[in-house]
Amino acid sequence: MTTNQAINESGLTPTTAVQEDNSLGLSPTMAALKRARSHYGLKIGLGILLVMAIFALFAPWLAPHDPYMQNLPMRMLPPVWGEGGQWQYLLGTDHLGRDYLSRLIYGARISMTIGIGAATVGMIIGVTLGLIAGYYGGWLDQAVNFLVTCQLAVPSLLLIMALVFVIGQSVTVVIFVIGATHWVFYLVVTRSATLRLREMDFVAAAHAMGCSKFQIAVKEVLPNLANQIMVIFTLEVAVAILNEATLSFLGLGIPSPIPSWGLMIAEGKQAMFFQPWLVVLPGIALFVLVIAINLLGDGVRDVTVTNRRN
């Protein structure tokens, strides 16, 4: 950070300085990959995420039990290291005797589906509105800005809960409702980047060669937003996952008996003074998943942001 600042202040960008006339620097993608290789946060985040993604994708093969199968005689078993734990149930069982490990593995599926789904819905809304507001400006921009002010003013969790309650509880509804209330970040970044890019000379050059406004917005401006949008996307996936967990915890998200980590915490809460692992384990799973996504997002940002002039 400071080094970069120092270099910027010195007026010597490393790229121009390093270049020899007959040897080119790295292309942006290669440079980003090179930086990525020495970025610990990004590597750790990506590693954890890959492992969890594999579990989520191959849950039917990797989970030892059916996550919905109740086995009342075996209820409330502690994890294998606890007193009375059984190897058959590595992480114990819940109040209905369902295998906790299997439910956790399937829970990763739910969390990731909802995280990616909701972040995609938000991205579509936010980027479209941001491009329109930033590129076309005028009254459209003001209208979009007003919409943002309204969205920010509403307590979003309350709104989500009300919406889910009114529309009905299901995975799809949760995805769309969370997505529809999490587009402001995309919009703000897209809009300001578009405003900046709109004034760039390559946009004027495209006008001068006869391109239409729509062509320019999609082919010249949008590719330049890709990196920033990717960063926001990862961070919004994390936010959506936490939101879903909160909703399910409050009983207004994923309906029972689907194994959502938030719901599992809510169910475990009844017994948390005596069987704390019922609450601790899904919480740790959530924490690890979200921190991995955030590390990845921060890493992608560090790696793709270049010291470019302007």
Partner: protein
């Protein structure tokens, strides 16, 4: 300055109106209040009777302006579920939430500002790294889960604080910590980058060339500029804390507006939900307005428009 206040005030009113209309429309078209009041199994005639009696058969716009008109005079209607005036409900539940929000804001400020400032003053030092990893972790911890963990640790294993309720100040310690922690990452990061930006600015270089250094440089030259984004983010966070109280109050079983909102939603108590959302929006809008005014006072560029 006066036109600035007027302009911002007008905007605030517009936002509050739009949002309240939005929530009204949502409930109007998605639920049947008559059915709710009558109960699930009530006969059709009874539902129709109630619909007529309460005026639910009138056009939506008429009902909205009717409700808005009463709301402006301080009459938010009567709760379908609790069967008492919504105003009374809000007045009863507000103190807990307000106390919680303010206490948790103090927690946020006391953790985030010192961390953010010291991180910015010594970038890449161990303080900076500690601050950043705190932010990354705090961002990833599910807020309700943090509450449960604190209960297990500080109320059950080591019974220092009560598990739930809102009777004494001791009841507010854990909830304030939980709710305060949720805003720490955002406020800390913003403080850090804001101050870093200011410190690397041209005018700070000018100030150094004039002979400013050390605390004088920070306090007399940089602070005022660095405060601008912090004021805005604190207002937004305080507003969010009102909404965030939904979770915290549920975890700690506190009788505040958040829990009232959750229960009203569960019971389709439209007048209460709608009034609560309006109150939250108005508070948020007023808070950001206040932040804008403070910033206008701090920064002549905003003041002079």
């Amino acid at each position: 300055m006066l036109t600035f206040i007027l302009r911002r005030g007008l905007m605030a009113i517009l936002v509050a109106l739009t949002v309240s209309f939005g929530t009204f429309a949502l409930f109007h078209y998605a639920t049947d209040p008559a059915q709710t009041i009558a109960g699930e199994d009530a006969p059709q005639e009874m539902v129709d009777e109630i619909r007529k009696q309460y005026g639910f058969d009138r056009p939506a716009a008429v009902q909205y302006f009717d409700w808005l008109g009463s709301a402006l005079t301080g009459d938010f209607g009567e709760s379908y579920f609790w069967k008492q005036p919504v105003v009374q409900l809000i007045v009863d539940h507000a103190p807990v939430t307000i106390t919680l929000a303010l206490a948790s804001l103090c927690v946020t400020v006391l953790i985030a500002l010192p961390l953010g400032i010291s991180a910015a003053l010594k970038p890449n030092s161990w303080v900076d790294r500690f601050a950043l990893s705190t932010a990354v972790s705090a961002q990833a911890i599910p807020n309700f889960w943090l509450g449960l963990m604190l209960i297990i640790l500080l109320a059950v294993t080591f019974p220092i604080f009560p598990v739930s309720g809102d009777a004494t100040w001791r009841h507010f310690v854990l909830p304030s910590l939980v709710l305060g922690a949720s805003s720490v990452p955002a406020v800390m990061r913003l403080t850090r980058t804001g101050l870093l930006d200011v410190l690397s600015s041209d005018y700070i270089r000018t100030a150094r060339a004039k002979g400013f250094t050390g605390y004088r440089l920070i306090v007399q030259q940089a602070m005022r500029n660095a405060l601008l984004p912090i004021v805005s983010v604190l207002a937004v966070q305080l507003g969010n804390k009102l909404g965030g109280s939904v979770v915290t109050e549920s975890v700690f079983s506190m009788n505040g507006l958040g829990r009232l909102a959750v229960e009203s939603i569960f019971n389709s108590d439209i007048p209460t939900v709608q009034s609560l959302i309006l109150i939250f929006v108005l508070t948020f809008v007023l808070l950001t307005l206040a932040a804008d005014l403070i910033n206008a006072w701090l920064d002549p560029r905003i003041r002079m428009g």
